[in-house]
Amino acid sequence: MSELLMAEQEIQTPLHAQMNQLPGEGPRAESPLYHADLTSIANHGPVDGSVHLQELALLGHLVLRGSPQNESFVTGFAQVMGFALPGPMQSAETGDASVRWIAPDEWLLIVPGSEAFSLEKRLREVISGHYSIANVSGGQTVLVLAGRDAVNVLKKSTGYDLHDSNFPVGKVVTTTFAKASAVIRRIGPQKWELVVRRSFSDYLWLWLQDASAEYGLIVRG
């Protein structure tokens, strides 16, 4: 089926609602930790400490659901993104796009905020069969926790084993984090990425400040 024909068919009987949810220039976007004013803390806050925290705000988050047996889903993803969907508990990335395995039929793709809609469109153009794509960009945010004692902050927060032997760079788990949950990905020897829900982000921000107090927390802008 040509792309044109497929697009025409979708206009006739839309199977999925697609919507560019981003406005043009003008409207102010507030990430889940906007109220915490991390930029000011980064500029004027403490500079000593062995835990670093940064919010990667306003990125594009797409939840992809599909069966690994759906060839169109697997190859379609690789075709659009230029890399394959990772296997269980793994992640993959190229440039500023990264994807995390969440569950046997679920992945989380994170891209620059402005690219979420166009990527969703392109993925929908090439994938057929049973799958879903949900834009959840407004519903979560990315925190990067780094530094020598980042691992200790994580030990206070999650029961998962973070040791090199069990949690090498690139691995991903979705698990409990304090009394909320987080997608935890190791992105460096002393660097971890947390994807957290918007509504829990203030709680987790308080939790992380508290858990890192004994080591010193440096907020990065």
Binding site: H16, P23, H35, S132, N135, V136, A178, F200
Partner: protein
């Protein structure tokens, strides 16, 4: 009692592991005393000659320090210099001394030295027979209340602070391949050999220094003092990246699946209050591959008359105080021993320059090397004899010695009195099997060592050293090394090769055989002899145990509960085995026949702070916020908890009462326009070709014909046909829907959908994703809502004919892409604007910029409740309680029984009870007095004069004052309510008044729906 506070009269000039260059000062019961860095509170008290540290539980007898570790039953003190830093239940033997430490005894009333209770106690003992604790369970509750107050007051094991604890306690999750519990010789060896394989190892010990008994031992390892070996092993371990060392850390619980809880005291040795920024105590939650228990053994005291008088101590504790702390806890010592072990304490005492009165050996013909040494040292050894009783009350003043028969059951004569102030007893060792019992394993009795050792276990557990009954140093070291290698190999590290097992060279001392003896006989029968204490903390005596068995309590578990043996905060560490032996003897059974009780977590008491960790105060429970929360705060909202969400409840203006605010907010919505933050409602994105069919199966109503662009209300029922959630679902595209749920039900509904998809209908092609947090939802409601919204959009046709009730449209609002749903929970013309949550606040503010001229009024959940109740709309969870069907709610219009496939709840609703006449049905209730609001929960009755118990017809679920209607409104269940329209029901109130109400339709306002269809 007056002490010369500067002398430390029992302190030696040399020796020990204390730091004499760091003098410290501390307080006990208001008096200042000196001590040294390296002391425990107990060693410092003994150094200063403090004999009495508490009063006993039942008899209020003066008690002194017996032990030197976790087994101490008496020296349980209250710590804290200020109210906020009070810590109860601290064993002085485990509390390191720091400068400025403030401690008080806890059992004393009014003071420990001169205690009024002791007079009562002498009489009170008769009022409190051994079965007091147990028998009261059989008494009526009211009586127990009285007993409890008395017992608590008398027991007084400390008190909680009444101010907030300013210190920080936290928890850390740990994972390890090998967990070694205890850093004595066996534990150190195990950790070292496991660590050398590269396995992850955690080594925890309750003491400040690793080494266990080696810290006060004269033995040599590889020709060097044992302490040097400890230092070199500790140094090697510290250098290993894969090894974590946790001193001052008690492994208090060994739970199922090799999960252990460790209580680390990080600053309790430094000061009353943790240094700024430091965590006082930390709970380590450890998941271990394999565990090596090297928990050691606890010395058993012998049970003899008045064995609780201060000055009666464990022989091993006497040695510990002398060798480790340079404190000799008395002047004239009598040692009673059943083995060679007691001799060592006498030698240490003599070496410290104090007088050894006699070594009383219960064995008729002791033969070990130490007997020879005693003779060489010129010490008096009295063979075949025992201390049957001591004299004194606040301090031992003498020991009554008698010869005993070879079985140890009878005094054979030759009774005499020796003058002394200290009696040390050595009754053999009880392996510290506590942790091995925590997951349910019962310990095994070993006749050869007359002790229980860890039994068969389902845990991945090994044991090494004294806990295993291996008491000789060389065996401890080798066993530790081998178990460490094995544990690592089991966890996947190393190949169990002998190369890793370093065999240390130790000079072995030949020991003679030990005599089996627990309970020392007296010239009088046990019941008439002076009290022979078994469990010091709960005042259980040998006579009491005999009474228990005489009364027919044959199971050791029953004996325990009858006497309260082992019920103290020390869990009977000293007393349990003696108690079992006495029970066995009095029943003419062996100890293994009698059996043993098992231990539960925690090994030693733990603070609530460590259990709670950081889950307190602000962090006790997550608070969830919408994207507009800052606006709500700035505009004075009062908040209501809905699940974990903080939702605006109402927005009071200065001077308004809550009812004033509600009246104003309600009227604004009905007269012009109001706005509600509805972002917290659950939102589930549903995609797939079977999405529509799936909806038809989980909702009670029909979904087959819902067109793209349309919304529909649905009721969700359990298999029992009872409503559990509701909400509006919109058709976004043929294969794409978005479902809304109640705020509190969002997670449950998503799980429900997944459960049915994954377990019942996996063939259906559908995916569910939560988008609750992704969309901000702004509900603009009121007759002016269309006009208001029109000012913010130029691409959505809001006209009545184009954008009908229950339609949704996409477009932009304030320049932000939005999905707008024309649905209404207020009965007014209403638009729910959904925008990506990062823009929620921006759009909210823009709505207010244009809203001023419409008197746009923010309203909260309480106003929403009133507005919807005026329309008779239910709230799932408030008007439903898991026992009502859609029919009971008067919502049969929301049930479609003709769907080709069944739906969840259809069969449940058809059950006999669900279709019978006269079920409780939801109706409206209009009070006869329009100003009276029936309290929610009030019970309906037909005849208010009926005697109690009255026949109750139902209850009120929602009740408010409606400012728009100028009268109160309510919804509630009434039996057969739908056929009682116009009848009067009565709501009796706790104050005796009765509120009359007429049964009516729950739709109080605009029953035709004219207001929302404009």
């Amino acid at each position: 009692m007056h002490h010369n506070s500067m002398t430390q009269q029992n302190r030696l000039q040399t020796g020990g592991r204390i730091n004499r260059s760091r003098p410290l000062s501390f307080k006990y019961n208001g008096t200042s005393y000196p001590g040294f860095e390296g002391d425990t509170l107990a060693s410092a008290l003994l150094a200063n000659g403090v004999d009495v540290v508490g009063r006993s539980f039942k008899y209020s007898r003066p008690r002194g320090i017996i032990a030197a570790g976790a087994d101490e039953p008496n020296a349980v003190l209250q710590l804290g210099a200020t109210e906020a830093t009070q810590v109860p239940n601290v064993r002085a033997t485990q509390q390191e001394l720091f400068d400025g430490l403030v401690s008080t005894s806890t059992n004393g009333w009014p003071s420990t030295d001169n205690d009024m209770m002791s007079y009562i106690g002498k009489v009170g003992g008769r009022m409190m027979p051994p079965g007091f604790y147990y028998k009261t369970f059989m008494y009526p509750q009211s009586l127990w209340d009285t007993y409890e107050k008395f017992i608590r007051k008398a027991a007084g094991l400390g008190r909680s602070p009444v101010e907030n604890d300013p210190d920080i306690y936290d928890q850390l999750n740990q994972h390890t391949d090998v967990m070694v519990v205890g850093a004595g010789p066996a534990g150190l060896s195990a950790a070292l050999s496991a660590g050398r394989t590269g396995a992850r190892v955690i080594l925890a010990d309750e003491q400040a220094e690793f080494g266990g008994m080696l810290l006060h031992s004269d033995e040599k390892i590889n020709g060097k003092p044992a302490a040097e070996w400890v230092a070199s092993v500790t140094k090697e371990l510290r250098a290993m990246d894969n090894v974590m060392l946790l001193p001052r850390s008690t492994v208090n619980g060994y739970h199922d699946h090799n999960f252990l809880t460790i209580h680390e005291r990080r600053t309790d040795h430094l000061a009353d209050l943790a240094p700024k920024g430091q965590v006082r105590q930390r709970m380590h939650r450890v998941r271990a591959g394999w565990v090596v228990l090297a928990t050691g053994a606890i010395e058993r005291p012998l049970v003899y008359g008045n064995n609780d008088v201060p000055g009666c101590m464990l022989a091993s504790a006497v040695s510990t105080y002398i060798k480790r702390y340079a404190v000799v806890p008395g002047n004239e010592l009598v040692v009673m021993t059943t083995s060679d072990r007691g001799y060592k304490s006498a030698f240490d005492w003599q070496d410290a320059g104090r007088k050894v009165v006699a070594i009383v050996d219960t064995r008729a013909e002791p033969s070990g090397a130490c007997v020879v040494e005693a003779q060489k040292r010129g010490l008096k050894v009295i063979k075949g004899s025992a201390v049957i009783e001591v004299k004194g009350s606040k301090r031992v003043s003498g020991a009554v010695i008698a010869s005993i028969d070879a079985s140890g059951n009878k005094v054979t004569g030759n009774v005499r009195r020796l003058s002394c102030d200290t009696v040390a007893s050595a009754g053999g060792w009880s392996p510290a099997v506590h942790l091995s019992c925590h997951a349910g394993s019962r310990p095994d009795w070993r006749d050869d060592i007359q002790a229980f050792v860890p039994g068969k276990t389902v845990q991945k557990q090994l044991t090494a050293g004294a806990v295993n009954g291996s008491y000789s140093l060389v065996v401890c070291l080798e066993e530790g090394a081998r178990r460490g290698v094995l544990a690592a190999a089991n966890a996947g590290f190393g190949d169990q090769s002998d190369e890793l097992v370093e065999v240390a060279l130790v000079d072995e001392v030949k020991e003679g055989p030990t005599m089996t003896l627990f309970h020392i006989p007296h010239t009088k029968s046990t019941s008439r002899a002076p009290k022979q204490f078994v469990d010091y903390q709960t005042d259980v005596t040998a006579a009491g145990i005999e009474v228990a068995t005489r009364e027919g309590y044959e199971s050791i578990e029953h004996v325990k509960r009858y006497t309260a043996m082992g019920f103290g905060t020390d869990q009977g560490k000293l007393g349990n085995i003696n108690g079992m032996a006495i029970a066995a003897k009095s029943m003419n059974k062996t100890i293994p026949e009698t059996g043993t009780t098992i231990f539960r977590p925690n090994y030693t008491p733990i603070t609530f702070g460590a259990i709670a960790g950081r889950n307190c105060g602000e962090l006790f429970d997550p608070k969830r916020y919408s994207a507009m929360h800052r606006w709500h705060l700035e505009n004075g909202a009062k908040f209501e908890d809905v699940g974990q969400w903080k939702r605006p409840w109402y927005f009071p203006q200065p001077g308004e009462s809550m009812q004033d605010s509600l009246n104003r907010e309600c009227k604004a919505v009905r007269d012009s326009a109001g706005i509600l933050d509805a972002s917290t409602l659950g939102k589930i994105d549903i995609q797939g070709k079977d999405a529509r069919e799936f909806l038809g199966r989980v909702y009670s109503n029909a979904w087959a014909k819902l067109g793209v662009g349309k919304c529909r209300y649905g009721l969700m029922c359990g298999e029992d046909g009872m409503v559990f959630d509701d909400g509006v679902t919109a058709c976004l595209a043929d294969n794409h829907f978005v479902m809304t749920t109640t705020t509190g039900g969002a997670a449950r509904v998503l799980e429900w959908l997944e459960l049915y998809h994954q377990t019942e209908w996996p063939e259906m092609e559908v995916y569910f994703n939560t988008v609750t947090d992704h969309w901000s939802t702004l509900t603009i409601s009121g007759p002016n809502s269309r006009k208001l919204l029109a000012e913010l959009t130029d691409d959505i046709d809001l006209s009545k004919d184009s954008f009908k009730f229950m339609d949704w449209k996409a477009g932009t609002v304030a320049g932000v892409p939005a999905r707008v749903f024309r649905i209404s929970f207020t009965g007014e013309l209403s638009f729910e604007v959904n925008v990506q949550a990062n823009y929620g606040m921006y759009v909210w503010e823009k709505v207010f910029e244009v809203g001023a001229k419409y008197n746009l009024t923010p309203y909260g959940t309480e106003t929403m409740h009133v507005l919807r109740a005026e329309k008779g709309f239910i709230i799932a969870g408030q008007d439903t309680d898991g026992s009502v069907t859609p029919i009971d709610l008067g919502m049969s219009w929301c049930v479609a029984n003709k769907k080709p496939f069944s739906y969840i709840g259809k069969r449940g609703m058809a059950r006999e009870d669900c279709v019978k006449e006269n079920r409780k049905q939801l109706v409206g209730l209009k009070t006869k007095n329009p100003q009276l609001v029936i309290p929610e929960g009030s019970q309906a009755v037909a005849d208010p004069k009926q005697p109690i118990p009255m026949t109750m017809l139902g209850h009120v679920t929602s009740s408010y004052y409606s400012a728009c209607l100028n009268h109160s409104i309510a919804m509630g269940f009434v039996r057969g309510g739908l056929s009682r329209m116009g009848e009067t029901v009565y709501y009796p109130q706790p104050d005796g008044s009765v509120i009359e109400a007429e049964v009516c339709s729950p739709i109080f306002l605009d029953p035709e729906g004219a207001r929302q269809n404009v």
